[in-house]
């Protein structure tokens, strides 16, 4: 993660969030400018459109794009470069990071929707990590660390049966 100084390192896997299955480990996003080929996050992130201009005549491209000649359609980014520019600099990042850590570690059993509403994807992931740490600690403090629990995956399937309308 750029601009993070020495400490933070994201692994190739994503840590399970609060409502996530404990055994499902999706391929996480790549580090820095590298993408992980099989990462769903990286695929969607690299889908960002960039404006392009044709430098010379491109025969048959209009047909390929499904448009007439002279179209100004922007070409979706299909090459490898897909880094996200934080744009706001080192200092702001540190400040936001500290606020996220603080709020995630102190909001126990609360409705956190207001707290996460203005965070982007990466920040939400950080928030979730913080929440998980807090919940695990509270669980341990209450002596529940050795309590066998129902699988969240199983519970989610149970809930969905009632609400899902399958095609």
């Amino acid at each position: 993660m750029r601009g993070a100084g020495g400490g933070l390192r994201l692994t190739g896997w994503r840590e399970p969030g609060p409502a996530m299955s404990e055994a499902y480990f999706p391929v996480g996003p790549g580090l820095g400018t590298e993408e992980n080929f099989l990462s769903l996050d990286d695929i969607l992130m690299s889908q960002e459109k960039l404006p392009g201009r044709a430098e010379s005549t491109l025969p048959r491209l209009a047909v390929l794009m499904g448009q007439g000649a002279g179209s100004a359609e922007s070409i979706p980014e299909v090459t490898e470069e897909g880094t996200r520019d934080t744009g706001t600099g080192h200092g702001t990042f540190i400040a936001r990071f500290r606020r996220i850590m603080d709020s995630s570690q102190n909001a126990y059993n609360e409705d956190t929707s207001a707290l996460v509403a203005r965070l982007d994807e990466l920040e939400r992931a950080l928030f979730q990590v913080g929440q998980k740490g807090l919940n695990d600690f509270q669980c341990w403090e209450k002596g529940q660390a050795s309590q066998i629990t129902a699988s969240t995956l199983v519970q989610n399937y149970g809930k969905r049966k009632l609400t899902e309308v399958d095609g």
């Binding site: 299955s21 999706p26 391929v27 979706p76 660390a145 995956l153 199983v154």
Partner: protein, 195 residues
């Protein structure tokens, strides 16, 4: 063209939170592969033309090739992520999946699940001496051999080691061997009661 169907598949999985497995999109998969086939055939034709002198087509050939690679990436990521979810089911649900989940799997995915089960079973038998070692047990550190459990829904008769049976009726409580109950607790049939 630019892998819209492939992307839709990726988006659907990305939206499915908590490791949930949505139904296998056979039709969308078929359409995405059809799209790839069409791109490939047009490139075959244009490559012949380019070789015969139409070098102005080279950009287009490269562009179609990028689209093909993009499609390939989307489809591979879709299939792989689904396998990760199916693998999680073995650990969290057990070796027999409910039919609602099975309906969401393609026959190849079911085959993969069966092979994975076998590999896992073989591995577990090979460690831990004569009886093997059930790695899907004791996910949380055990504190005692027997645990107090409450039944969350009717589950019928349940046989304990010494041959006696227990009737798992909703709200009944029992003191049972931990290893027998673990899977039922994970499936939401029983609840582990802490004293």
């Amino acid at each position: 063209m630019a892998a819209e169907r492939g992307l839709e598949l990726v988006r659907e999985l990305h939206r499915s939170a908590g490791g949930h497995l949505p139904p296998f999109r056979t039709e969308e998969m078929r359409q995405a592969l059809e799209e790839m086939r069409a791109l490939y055939e047009r490139n075959q034709a244009d490559v012949s033309e380019a070789k015969a002198g139409r070098t102005d087509l080279i950009f287009l050939i490269r562009f179609r090739h990028c689209c093909l690679l993009r499609n390939q990436r989307c489809l591979l990521a879709y299939l792989y992520d689904r396998l990760l979810r199916i693998r999680a089911l073995r650990w969290e649900y057990g070796s027999v999946l409910p039919s609602t989940i099975q309906f969401h799997m393609s026959s190849e995915e079911m085959e993969w699940f069966n092979q994975y089960k076998k590999s896992l079973a073989t591995y577990m038998r090979s460690v831990g001496g004569e009886e093997g070692l059930d790695l899907t047990q004791d996910i949380k550190p055990p504190k005692s051999l027997y645990i107090e459990v409450r039944c969350l829904r009717d589950h019928g008769e349940f046989e304990v080691d010494d041959g006696t049976t227990v009737l798992l009726k909703k709200n009944s409580q029992h003191f049972l061997p931990r290893w027998k109950c673990e899977q039922l607790i994970r499936q939401g049939v029983l609840e582990h009661v802490l004293s």
